[in-house]
Symmetry: C2
């Protein structure tokens, strides 16, 4: 007899966000609380197996999402819930177009189409929580941006995320999956030296402050970004997993309530938390291209997400406190 609990797949489970999600689920009693139902199966997918979380019905399955046989093996057994987090990030996808298309586009589509087939063949209609990106929006002006803002991606990564959103929305319309695409902002603090992210400075300032080292920040102190701590991101993913579809907009794509602030304000909050000498080594050497892409974000109006119960980091102090606690693990 099948259990009554959830059969869950996490792709990109050993990535920055995936590790945070797995760790949150592994806290005693938290899996059922976060997902709204007990966990029967937790399939963890990534290129290499990560740490085995204690106390969870977890299994690592390592492989390359661009390999159709591997992808098929992930969807062999019925799935109720899929966190699709795997991707090749922006700058890396821009520089390796074949790999970017294979991972961000083709693999995402194969996964979505296989889940749709599962439903057509009488299996469950899987809730899919897709880690999309604000990169779908492209270059923004100075006016506040909301969910109605038309996407116009300026990176292949953004175009690939957008196309996946459209496919998931169409399969949702067909009743074959039940998807939510979260347009994630810059999640911090990523591990130091993580490649492929033009927005890496958003995390590097945390590491510089904690280590009290020098850091040349490639944007000016006034550069505004959309920030979200990893714990807040993980809470949003879990909220999306258990959310009543009636609370979701028909397009199923959501901007999250990221924290809109200049880099300088976050550095100031780091100084307040760690002592002003901790951030004394941070100086600024703005790169026009990085500043234009990641440092001129206008105010964000995430009304739909707030109405659906998603929360953000509401102050620089809260953002910094959550990130530091997360880094201290």
């Amino acid at each position: 007899m099948p259990g009554t609990g959830l059969r869950v797949l996490i792709t990109g489970a050993d990535g920055f966000v995936g590790q945070g999600l797995v760790a949150a689920l592994a806290r005693p009693g938290m899996a059922a609380a976060l997902l709204g139902a007990p966990l029967d199966v937790l399939l963890l997918a990534d290129r290499t197996a990560g740490r085995m979380p204690a106390g969870l019905p977890a299994r690592w399955k390592a492989g390359d999402l661009a390999d159709p046989a591997y992808l098929a093996s992930l969807t062999e057994d019925p799935l109720d819930l899929v966190f699709h987090l795997a991707s090749l990030p922006g700058a890396a996808a821009e520089g390796q177009p074949e790999l970017g298309a294979a991972v961000n586009l083709v693999a995402s589509q194969h996964l979505a189409l296989r889940l749709a087939r599962q439903a057509r063949e009488g299996g469950p209609v899987a809730r899919v929580v897709f880690a999309s990106s604000i990169a779908v929006l492209g270059r923004l002006g100075s006016d506040p941006v909301g969910d109605a803002h038309p996407p116009a991606p300026t990176l292949s990564y953004g175009a690939q995320k957008w196309m996946t959103e459209i496919l998931l929305a169409d399969l949702t319309r067909r009743g074959e999956v039940d998807a939510i695409s979260l347009r994630l902002p810059g999640i911090v603090a990523r591990p130091p030296g993580a490649g492929g992210f033009g927005s890496a400075f958003m995390s590097e300032i945390f590491h510089a402050a904690r280590a009290r080292t020098a850091y040349r920040c490639p944007v000016s102190p006034g550069a505004t970004a959309w920030w979200m701590s990893r714990p807040t991101c993980v809470a949003a993913l879990a909220h999306a997993a258990r959310l009543d579809p009636a609370r979701l907009p028909s397009g199923r794509s959501l901007l999250l309530p990221a924290f809109h602030a200049p880099v300088g304000a976050v550095i100031e909050a780091l100084g307040a938390a760690l002592g002003s000498e901790a951030v004394a080594g941070i100086n600024f050497a703005p790169d026009a291209a990085i500043e234009a892409l990641f440092g001129r974000l206008p105010p964000l109006v995430a009304e739909r997400a707030r109405a659906a119960g998603f929360q953000g980091d509401e102050t620089a102090g809260q953002l910094v406190a959550r990130c530091l606690a997360d880094l201290d693990g």
Copy 2:
């Protein structure tokens, strides 16, 4: 030594629009006039080989676009120009989701990504003329619709066309293809009994009038549609093939200047051309679903396309005359 002429691929070359395009190219002297340069190679692709056009350097290559090996064979040699017309139409794709995704989405992407690779490997940057569809727009209100109208497809076919537009626009931004997506309206008059088109009534009235037979039209006489004769569509495809990229909008998707008119007006023009007794057998049994999807199209403002030199059928009489001449072909 390579020739100085164009190496051209037409997918869906044996479909309704494809046959019209091949026939137009085969008229003496017309290939160079329509494409703006002499034709060196014309590769014609479809599931089965069609008629061999006289006087052209043409070769049929039959196969299934969903077969990667076949698709690879089409892009083995360098291509300067691709008319990507092949697709599984709306109702058929909605009813056969695996096949629809394979043809309209996956095959289109493989083709686009292979052409991009051709450019990265030092080959030509191919002009791609993609037969997209007004199905990307989804249900429309009564306000006039222009190029800025945000897509919200209500059929998988429309979602698949839209995703392909986004990929082609991104590869164009990268400089790896040079694409134009034409959002085609209902092209008439398709062969009688063609399956898979909810909009088949737009063609069936022509066949009923020519044959002086009875026809139950599934929309009311007041149902408004966007019409385009096949000769006008073929002229638009050729115009797109030779158009200076500087005359194209950055998104590279265009609504064409289709003729906006009620079914009754087209039937009246058919009566004027063929005699009122020719249309006496046409009666109306409106189907709410078909009327809602294909019979409530608002006025169309195709400013960008007109500015770029695209033309439409400007009156019901012109539409009917061109379709009848085409059918008498």
